[in-house]
């Protein structure tokens, strides 16, 4: 016997009603990442050997700083969604899966914030 009613036991066990949201934002971020990554690679070819002054001057351009922040946002969001699917497929039991997903999301969020702050500091210096 439980003080919870039979209805309370089954509530929430049905559809989450947002089943396509994860799938959709993974596609949206991947579409955004195609031009952003191509820009990033071409940029790296130009600045990979640059000294500090050159690199700082390069990133102080607001269009470049903006593209870099957009790349970081899309990239870390996409990474978080992708890692979640990998954990959901392979990590058991349920508790370990939830912990793995949460820890990865927290770490990737933090890395994203740190890198964006770094870009802004360089760009606004």
């Amino acid at each position: 016997m439980s003080i919870r009613t039979p209805l309370a036991h089954v509530r929430g066990l049905g559809t989450a009603k947002d089943g396509t949201h994860h799938w959709w934002v993974q596609r949206v971020t991947s579409v955004a990442l195609v031009p952003l990554v191509l820009w990033f690679i071409v940029s790296l070819l130009a600045v990979s050997h640059a000294d500090y002054e050159t690199f700082q001057h390069w990133l102080s351009n607001p269009v470049r700083a903006g593209l870099m922040v957009a790349l970081l946002v899309a990239m870390f969001y996409h990474a978080s969604l992708g890692m979640q699917v990998i954990y959901e497929d392979y990590v058991r039991p349920e508790g370990a899966k939830v912990v793995a997903v949460l820890v990865t999301q927290f770490v990737l969020f933090l890395l994203g914030v740190i890198s964006i702050v770094a870009v802004l500091k360089i760009a606004l210096a």
């Binding site: 596609r27 991947s30 579409v31 990442l33 195609v34 990554v37 191509l38 690679i41 790296l44 070819l45 990979s48 050997h49 000294d51 500090y52 690199f55 700082q56 990133l59 990239m75 870390f76 990474a79 992708g82 890692m83 990998i86 990737l108 890395l111 740190i114 890198s115 702050v117 770094a118 870009v119 500091k121 360089i122």
Partner: protein
């Protein structure tokens, strides 16, 4: 364990149950490169954070990334990025409903493999100091 939990499951993809196919190998490689790229973001964050700290930290980061190990890691990261990019575009075409015929899937698969290899070497030839 209830009876419902004892229903047969299809076996895991890796093992003696399924013959590896070009399409399935490319599929798991997409996941592997995705996870590898996540690890690679640590280098990007390190590089940007070092540049934000100052010239000294930036020079140090450039030296670390320019070392043999750093260059090897960056080379693999370049290939993983091109592979995930090319195969990601292949996936987007599938999502839009194109390229499901077996000969098409095989052809696009080889296009992904070769374009990722060629673009990686092209990049490193251009970036060579």
């Amino acid at each position: 364990m209830s009876a419902a939990n004892k229903r047969p499951l299809s076996p895991f993809m890796i093992g003696p149950y399924y013959k590896p196919q070009m399409t399935s190998v490319l599929s798991i490689t997409h996941r592997a490169t995705g996870a590898g790229l996540v690890v690679g973001t640590l280098l990007l964050v390190y590089w940007l954070a070092a540049a934000a700290v100052g010239p000294k930290a930036y020079e140090h980061a450039q030296a670390v990334l320019g070392s043999m190990l750093g260059q090897l890691f960056l080379f693999l990261w370049t290939w993983a990025l091109f592979y995930h990019l090319a195969n990601g575009i292949r996936h987007l075409f599938w999502d839009a409903g194109y390229g499901f015929e077996l000969p098409d899937a095989t052809k696009s698969g080889w296009a992904v493999v070769w374009s990722s290899i060629i673009l990686t070497f092209l990049c490193w030839l251009i970036a060579a100091p």
